[in-house]
Point group: D3
Chain length 264, copies 6
């Protein structure tokens, strides 16, 4: 699945609301949190801006100001909300423990880190570098996920669990990608310029794997957990090891990101 | 050591109090913290509930309510406190830097993450899934440890340092296990059902190692740091590598979790 | 570069101020933060003490008291500030994404973790063990970096990104070292005593690599990402793999920490 | 009304719960607050201890510890809860704007100040003077009501609005008394000893009135707003003025505190 | 002055911005506060909603939610902003210590209390009684000003200093009124119904004066400090005393509220 | 008593420390608060600056910055600390409920309000008007005491209880003065210029009394509670009433502020 049509988006939003209403009834301890964060809002974009601002506000960065900054970004660039919705579907379809659309939205810090980055990238593009650095640091402290604001992300991306993920300045991620926790899309060398990986559509990268340097991981490749990749990976292949070598010429599934098969 | 007798538990509790009284006298800056958290309480269970609620409370989740939820759990299920005490002994005996029983209780986030999980598991079993998801997320943010509330833990477990540890929904951990930071007990594939590892008694898993899929790591096996394990590991063997292969047919000690020998 | 002369230090401090003044003008949302943290202070040591106390203060540890403790440490031991300045230069020279001296100071949690540790080490040496344990735990929660207060650090050290870094009690780091995130300088075995690695000058250790036991990584060696090292590494060599083996007899550059070449 | 029978207390508690359930349904923004403060508790005493600890906790005084101190006091001395319930009835019967029993409990700072004082008086009697002074100060900051912990209060007392009320160390208040905001029951002279007013049953004291010195205001007397009383006031009389003089030999109602007639 | 024309409102708003820009330059410690609260906003209504939400937010009432509630009220009822602007002019013209229009907006709690009440009155009219009671209590704690949400306020009202002011449920205030701190517009008797004062245009009421019962203080009357008024006051007269008597048949100025002559 | 000699100041400081050590031992719940606020400091000026910054810090005004501002003021102008010490002695000698020198310092908001004002006056004189207005507002919210930063205060001043006290811009207070809560030293008229009272040495002003206009209350005069004074009061006389009239040609004691006799 690449992007959602408007009816699909609307359905998703209403499903999230219904799930949240049920949760609200089940757990009164969290009723105001769920009302405040989801139920009182008229649109998904408000929910997203609100919840992210809850996560990253601090005595230095007022929650109201951050909420407005986030809302402004989401309204200025429709593609962020579209991508976030596609990400939610990705978690629901790929993570066997995720049996509700509201779960990634509310409770998965990998999801929060992706969306905070998308907005941070927008701020970066607007020239607000100081604010982007500040928020990158804050996300790194809160989520344990460190994504340079210049990195470019497609849609339908899942970062599972998230802790330890690092994505560098010139990294580019396509669509429908799954990254497990601890994944590094890192640079190589002290010179500036284009020095981080380009990840194709449908790629899955296992836990704690490192992909280093300006290399290309082609569509639907799979990188095993703990592997270290320093050379291009052809499409539909699986690589594994430190350093990684090809183990399967054609990866054993249509789209590794969707299958989430961790066997190597 | 498996479980503590009541006299052993009482002795441990009194030792912790004595250590804390000494710390209180040594460091007046922390005197009220130590009094508030340890010395004013009549029982270990109160200390545990109090300290965990200090760690995980937030503007959304009131510290008093969380303390009561935690205390209620500990009183409803004696085995959680028993297991926590066995865990403290495990840290003391296995971590050479741990020269006081109060250290894991007060300052080791791996220990905090285990105990928060044990209670979260109890909440999960009580059907309070919304609250369990909420607290899993909170623990993941604060400790960098992400344990699905359904995972089952034995006693005498040490998670050293903790950052980056991930344990999946259908994982089962036996007793007297040592996990270093960055260890993943992960699933494989997008289908639900039993898909995470089963870890036997006495197992040690080194830093950043990944054990993936519904496989069995038998008693007293040892998994080297950075290894990726996707197949069963026989008892008393050591495996290492990406992917891991057996390096020692019979691991060179009675119980790797207790020896903590990281050589491979 | 090893240490900075006084004129170099003064120049660095004035450069940081100028950069911050510019950031202040560019981003009024952060103006008071930047004024409060940098511009109103007469010296770099005050800025460092202030910013670290912002990061690690909590309801238990008052920000004013922590600021005074930190300032006292920095005034009692000049070498901490000297080393911190050398670290800033290291980030600037080695991290291609770091194009201003103020960035590591303000926004890099790896830098914050190093400096918090340097002061924590000073507290440890003063016999304030309770406070040192408390602050080690706090840094581990906030930065995801867990450094035992007894570990000894040289100057010119860069910890990039930081999440998941663990450094044990008897580890010793020389000068001009680069550690990526997820690096472990761990012990082996449950016995106390000297049991952690000794890292020579100019060494670079890649992401998620583990160096385990009382071994020696000699000057200007390079350890590949994801590698697990359990034996001494000769000077000017590159090792890689799980377990690591030598891949280059003479590492291909003068000082790997400065080159940051992640290829293996 | 003097004291409530147990069935009356139970009825009152259930009425408060019903009112709160309705408020919870009407105003989801406050649902968790109402659940947390009222609905999840099994008894009125828990609600009272919880809500007062919400009001007076601070970074110095942990909410959990304060809640336990308050709960312990309420359990040790039944008469505090009995008096608090009688106070609620007093507000309901005498304050025309109070059309629900839950209103004083939840929203009237005069009520909060009385109950915080009752417990503070208990602490004072237990010899915990430091804590009592601390909490007196805290209540004075939060409620604008300054009551010395040694002052003795009967039951069925209403302090309306509260701001500016001051009650001195040796003051004694009987039962069924109404004090408006700004009322002072003050001392006279710098010598210690019994130097504050004694207020009889059924007395009403109008806004900003001062009663000064060890004098006696006999049962069912009425003191006009803004008056200054420095001599005994006979029963069933009304006094007014600066200084106050008797305006009505027999106050024109059975119990001024209940009638709340401010005419003079 | 009764109401401002649109050009006057615009001029006032721009003057406030200019004053704030100057303050921002003079006091960098408060630069972000002033930016956050005033300078980044496009309209006065946003500033008002933001600043009031800063004052009254709490762990129970999220600042973002309160800001939205306040903004919604201000947008739904233009007259609140119009009245607030007229109030600012009133402070500027009547309070000799007020030499800038931004001062009441930013720093005068009497002004904050009036505006919080105007919005609370709107909530009351919308049927949100629970929220109105909650916010009345919060304002009473923070400002020491207790205004029943049903009370009706005109425009051009100044409450100077504010502490201790109480205004009852059925009170009605006209336009261009000055109240000093400690003023009570209170009820009389325990019966519900219309029982509080009606205050005409141009009236001034001195510090700590009480006006009690359903009486009428006619236009341009003046009530001396500390007085207690229980009967109607004719227009253009001055009354004083406990109880108050007429001292000047025709008060010695056109509009006492504007003159602020406290002599009696 | 006018001012303290250095030996007296030193004795007072050591007495306060001793009292605090005893309180610390008696009430472990407050041990860290007392250590943090008093015992760890080398001088009274640090204690004063620290405690006031605890009271008035907020998310907008960092506690560390405020502490430094306060400490800087106290070091720049010795007379503030001298006056504060004289004030403490005044409370001890005049308030029968005050049986320890540490009580006003730690727990009396009237004392806190005076000292916060003294420093605010210093800021005002330094031209930091924006900061002074900000802190005046903050003190008004926290203490319920509203003192214009330009007002001039002597030493040996006691404000008892404090709630509702208002002091205007051009008011001048001599030495050894006692003000009860609710006292207003207010202006009259909307014109700027010298318009507030001048209070001589040794004066006592009772609760809720108002002194209005540029009038002079001569040395050792006494103003009864609730009185309203709009004309000069001769030395050694007692006035009372609304408006006040002389009741005693020569007030019945040497210095009313010291005697605290509230009879009229």
């Amino acid at each position: 699945m690449n992007t959602l049509t408007q009816p699909q988006s609307d359905t998703l939003w209403h499903t999230i609301r219904r799930e949240t209403e049920q949760a609200c009834a089940d757990e009164p301890t969290l009723a105001s949190f769920l009302h405040l964060t989801v139920l009182r809002h008229q649109s998904f974009e408000r929910v997203l801006a609100f919840h992210l601002s809850s996560k990253l506000a601090s005595p230095i960065m007022d929650a109201r100001a951050l909420y407005e900054i986030y809302l402004n970004a989401l309204r200025s660039d429709d593609s962020i909300v579209e991508a976030a919705l596609a990400d939610i579907v990705a978690y629901y379809e790929r993570d066997a423990a995720c049996d509700a659309y509201s779960l990634p939205l509310l409770y998965y810090k990998g999801f929060h880190a992706i969306q905070a980055h998308r907005i941070n990238h927008w701020l970066w593009q607007q020239g607000r570098r100081t604010l982007a650095y500040f928020l990158q640091n804050r996300a790194s402290e809160v989520f344990g996920v460190d994504i340079h604001p210049a990195a470019r992300f497609g849609h339908g991306i899942m970062i599972d669990h998230g802790t330890g993920v690092v994505v560098g300045e010139t990294a580019v991620l396509g669509n429908d990608i799954s990254l497990l926790h601890g994944v590094t899309l890192g640079g190589s060398g002290k010179e500036s310029g284009d020095r981080h990986p380009k990840i194709g559509d449908g790629v899955m990268i296992g836990a704690n794997a490192s992909v280093l340097g300006n290399i290309r991981v082609h569509n639907c490749a799979k990188i095993g957990a703990g592997s270290v990749v320093v050379e291009d990976v052809p499409a539909h292949t699986t690589v594994v090891g430190v350093p990684a070598r090809t183990v399967v010429g054609q990866s054993g599934c249509h789209m590794p990101a969707a299958e989430m098969d961790q066997r190597i």
